[in-house]
């Protein structure tokens, strides 16, 4: 049970797969247009059930409760060895091959 007032994310379908705009690519048209928005729950609710939230601007939105206390989890990604080479190559071209070795 997620308590009333908790900051949550809800999901709502804006357009069903069959009623997308004309002229969009087939792979997109085959999917519903879905929206996610965050806000404070206006009543107790459990994940996966219909919920209502009050957003940061005070609007009311309704949808399926998807996540409680959502947060951003972007990072600096995994190891990308190619990046090490770029600067090293350029410095060698510009400043010569001397190292401090």
């Amino acid at each position: 049970m997620i308590k009333k007032g908790t900051w949550v994310s809800i999901r709502a379908t804006i357009l069903e797969a069959g009623s997308r705009a004309e002229g969009i690519p087939a792979d997109t048209a085959a999917m519903p247009l879905v929206m996610w928005v965050k806000g404070h729950l206006t009543a107790d609710c459990t994940l996966g059930n219909r919920a209502e939230v009050r957003t940061a601007t005070g609007r009311i939105e309704r949808g399926i409760l998807e996540e409680a206390e959502p947060y951003t989890n972007v990072d600096y990604g995994g190891f990308v060895p190619e990046l090490l080479r770029i600067g090293a190559d350029a410095r060698k071209i510009l400043f010569g091959g001397e190292t401090h070795g």
Partner: protein, 466 residues
């Protein structure tokens, strides 16, 4: 139930012009002058603000007067691949120094200021890019609410790290963010929000937004004169929707600067912008041909009845670079100049690196923007994400890159190229699109002259191509 029916897709889209007029305070219909022509300068003047007022508003909001930095090491590297006596001095305008980290603050400052002045309680914008953060930042400063609608995820709810970072940044400024799956119907949801809230539409393409960029062009001319005692020879502008080049070129012209204005985009040929499957196979969310071509050849595709950004009027030349080249330049900027910026804003830097090699040593080439970088919005997470999405990342000849399949980092800096787009081809395409979108048009002389201005060509060229 009647109310539900009125909120359906077709009904809302049919009310589009009315909703936009109410949410902007500008009646575009009074600027229509021909069958297809309209009074462009009249639209630009509809802001009711002079250039000096806009500059004052921006400076009061902490926007503008960003540093102009000479890229001495990148210039020296370019000269390694240039003929003797060739290799222009490369300068970069550090627009990342604006409050939310990009030149988009200039566009947002005028729009949000106007919203406040007209008594709106909030502002709304549909954008997945830096502009959302800019609107949110300026709204925070003026005590207005902000709603940003972003195209954010594919149908598996997988999002580009760069866009997810932008969600975070908008929320950090207190904005409400609406995240959507792929599709142009985001605009439908956006219109319902404008109707529901009565907020100001802080469109990227309004005259408020575009006139806000004129200060950038003006600063480029004045700073280069101060630093070097002469005018820049070329100004390179990363091009997507067209506002950057339009405003910059107008600002340069205002100062009497005759620099060649060069648009640069990342080549994403073959990737469809509205395709769910392609959405995460591109490693650039802006500054690419998916926006650059359509907006150059049909600007009125935007969310405004008339787009204030009209790039083909202002570009003297349009060049393309590849994703691998821009990632490579982004790393060079960090490793050789100590500036961690971009990457999308470095599209014009990659182009400048190639173009400088064909210009004399005493010539000056200006890259007119940088943008902030951070977790998610950085070459490392973007390349890591591309690898995870099955994109082949390798060193080689960037000319071999296939967007959506590979990212080819140049084997050496000499392989970075700026590939010219056929300008007359773009001009013909704009004329063709105009006629196609106005099939019953009985063209008047005013319309022909309008098309000549739209394509930066001549009446004779237009007559030959209609």
């Amino acid at each position: 139930m009647a109310k539900d029916k009125e909120m359906g897709y077709a009904a809302v889209m049919a009310r589009k012009n009315r909703i936009l007029m109410d949410s902007l305070g500008i009646d575009f219909s009074k600027f229509e002058t021909g069958t297809i022509a309209f009074d462009y300068e009249g639209v630009m003047a509809a802001t009711g603000m002079t250039f000096d007022e806009i500059r004052r508003i921006q400076l009061a909001a902490g926007v503008g007067d960003t540093p102009m930095l000479e890229m001495r090491n990148i210039t020296a590297l370019a000269r390694k691949y240039a003929a003797p006596g060739m290799g222009a001095r490369i300068f970069i305008k550090d627009e990342a120094a604006n409050p939310s980290g990009s030149f988009k603050d200039r566009r947002a400052a005028t729009a949000v200021y106007t919203a406040k002045r007209l008594g709106f309680k909030g502002v709304a914008a549909a954008t997945s890019g830096n502009y959302g953060a800019a609107v949110a930042s300026q709204a925070a400063k003026l005590g207005l609410n902000a709603i940003i609608a972003q195209e954010c995820y594919d149908s598996r709810k997988v999002g580009q790290p760069e866009i997810l970072e932008k969600t975070r940044k908008c929320e950090a400024f207190g904005a409400e963010v609406i995240q959507m799956t792929v599709g142009p119907e985001l605009f439908y949801k956006f219109l319902t929000i404008l109707e529901e809230t009565g907020y100001f539409s802080a469109s990227l393409y309004s005259p408020f937004g575009i006139s806000g960029v004129e200060t950038l062009g003006s600063e480029v001319a004045l700073q280069i004169r101060r630093l070097t005692g002469k005018d820049p020879d070329a100004v390179i502008v990363t091009h997507a929707g067209g506002g950057n080049i339009t405003g910059t070129a107008r600002g340069l012209a205002r100062e009497g600067c005759k620099a060649q204005v060069v648009a640069a985009s990342v080549n994403l040929k073959g990737l469809h912008m509205a395709s769910d499957g392609h959405f995460n196979r591109k490693s650039f969310t802006t500054g690419h041909t998916g926006f650059g071509f359509p907006f150059a050849t049909w600007p009125d595709r935007s969310d405004m009845p008339r787009n204030a950004a009209r790039p083909l009027r202002y570009m003297d030349r349009y060049v393309l670079v590849n994703q691998g080249e821009v990632f490579y330049m982004t790393q060079l900027l960090a490793n050789l100049e100590g500036l961690e910026r971009g990457p999308a804003g470095n599209t014009s830097l990659a182009a400048a690196f190639a173009l400088a090699q064909k210009m004399p040593e005493d010539a000056i080439i200006v890259v007119q923007e940088t943008e902030y970088t951070g977790a998610g919005k950085h070459i490392q997470p973007q390349l890591a994400f591309a690898k995870k999405s099955g994109i082949d990342i390798r060193f080689g000849d960037p000319a071999e890159e296939v967007p959506g399949e590979s990212i080819v980092l140049p084997q050496h800096p000499g392989l970075i190229a700026a590939r010219d787009v056929d300008m007359d081809g773009l001009r013909k395409s704009l004329i063709r699109n105009t006629l196609r979108n106005n099939p019953d048009a009985d063209l008047t002389d005013i319309d022909i002259e309008f098309l000549a201005a739209e394509t930066n060509s001549s009446v004779a060229f237009v007559r030959d191509n209609i």
